[in-house]
């Protein structure tokens, strides 16, 4: 058992835990973008910064990746924390001015005038890596990845072409913290990542309920016959 303080309050944690989950459990408010319940931390967005005081040394760390330790004093709102968080938000906001979440956070943390010129070619993507990890680690198909680096880095499918492994499940869309990924269901067809996928129609209620390719994939990994899966969840 490890004991330390967050904003003066004594808290307990298990060895190996990171600060963020402990703080959230204890009811403290730390903003996050690249942290995901099912995927854990990735340390990419940097807005979860806190100040950690160990003895006489203070430093700013990313709470989602900083292991708890006995006797540390964590501050979630010290002036330096607010300053760093504000700068990070300013940069993210300049990259994705269309992303509503960033607009809200910028307002909440008092980012008034953005000093950098705004990008208009990045969509709402902050390169948090969540969609890529969801696709690989939860779904298991690895249809998404980064391409390029620096200014031209982006999330995409291999060769920016419709992917052979994508099953149109939409996990990336659900997981994305900013709503960057486009997906549309229309007349029995789902469009996602520049590809069109037919949706399965339930033989009972004739509702379009899931992409055929997703059902085929589920059938393959779970050995449940495809005919069973073609029936929608409500009618099953």
């Amino acid at each position: 058992m490890i004991e330390f303080t967050i904003d003066g309050k004594k808290v307990k944690a298990t060895e190996g835990e990171f600060i963020l989950p402990v703080a959230l459990r204890e009811g403290f408010d730390i903003p996050t973008l690249c942290h995901h319940e099912a995927l854990g931390s990735d340390g990419r967005c940097r807005i979860c910064v806190v100040e950690v005081k160990r003895g006489s040394r203070k430093r700013i760390v990313t709470s989602c990746l900083y292991p708890v330790a006995d006797g540390i004093e964590v501050s979630t709102n010290a002036p330096d924390v607010m300053l760093v968080r504000k700068s990070v938000l300013e940069l993210l906001y300049a990259r994705c001015p269309e992303a509503e979440v960033l607009g809200h956070l910028a307002k909440k943390y008092g980012v008034e005038n953005v000093r950098y010129s705004k990008d208009h070619d990045k969509g709402k993507c902050i390169l948090c890596n969540i969609c890529i990890r969801a696709c690989a680690e939860i779904v298991g198909v690895s249809a998404l990845g980064f391409s390029g680096k620096g200014m031209s880095k982006k999330v995409t499918t291999p060769f920016d072409e419709p992917s052979d492994t994508c099953i149109a499940c939409g996990a990336c869309v659900v997981a994305c913290p900013t709503g960057h990924i486009f997906m549309k269901d229309d007349k029995g067809v789902r469009t996602i990542w520049k590809k069109k996928f037919p949706l399965a129609q339930c033989p009972e209620c004739s509702r379009f309920h899931a992409p055929v390719e997703q059902l085929q994939y589920i059938s393959k990994v779970t050995n449940v016959p495809l005919e069973t899966l073609m029936v929608c969840q409500d009618c099953r």
């Binding site: 690895s142 249809a143 998404l144 990845g145 680096k149 291999p158 060769f159 052979d164 492994t165």
Partner: protein, 155 residues
């Protein structure tokens, strides 16, 4: 593009068929074809059993690799700090103008590709240009024209 699978197999084998050798494998393929054909990336990923998108990530991350066919001659203009200050940008502009090509691209006739680099490690010779592995130091717009001639006709 048709790729020679035997050739790729040899390259993969030479690198021990290991996933963590993918960059070395790509480099060998690139020197064989002067670029990294898409089909080669697909083949290598299949053989190394890594998701295609991961192989694509690596292929697009390094400037030394190109998924587009490169020109017969590769011009590399240094824009590192020293070369930048000594007129590198003007050298680049001269190449772009003379060859009617933009940086990071290849001339229509496939003769020259023009790329930039941040320091080739010979700053005393700034501004530096490397063509097909050969270095030209203290270049100026007039010498650029000479260099182009040399490679156009020598080829």
């Amino acid at each position: 593009m048709d790729i020679d699978k035997k050739k790729l197999d040899t390259i993969i084998k030479k690198n021990g068929g290991e996933r963590n050798r993918i960059l070395a494998i790509y480099q060998d393929i690139q020197s064989e074809y002067r670029y990294l054909p898409k089909e080669a990336v697909q083949y290598v990923c299949g053989r190394l059993d890594i998701p295609l998108v991961k192989g694509f990530e690596v292929a697009t991350f390094y400037k030394a690799l190109s998924l587009k066919p490169k020109g017969k001659h590769s011009v590399c203009v240094c824009l590192g700090t020293a070369c930048h200050l000594k007129g590198g940008p003007a050298i680049l502009e001269t190449f772009e103008r003379e060859l009617k090509v933009k940086r990071d691209d290849t001339t229509e006739d496939g003769m020259f590709s023009v790329d930039t680099v941040n320091c080739l490690g010979a700053c005393a010779l700034a501004p530096l240009v490397r063509v097909d592995g050969k270095d030209f130091g203290k270049t100026s717009p007039p010498t650029v024209k000479k260099i182009i001639k040399e490679f156009k006709h020598g080829a």
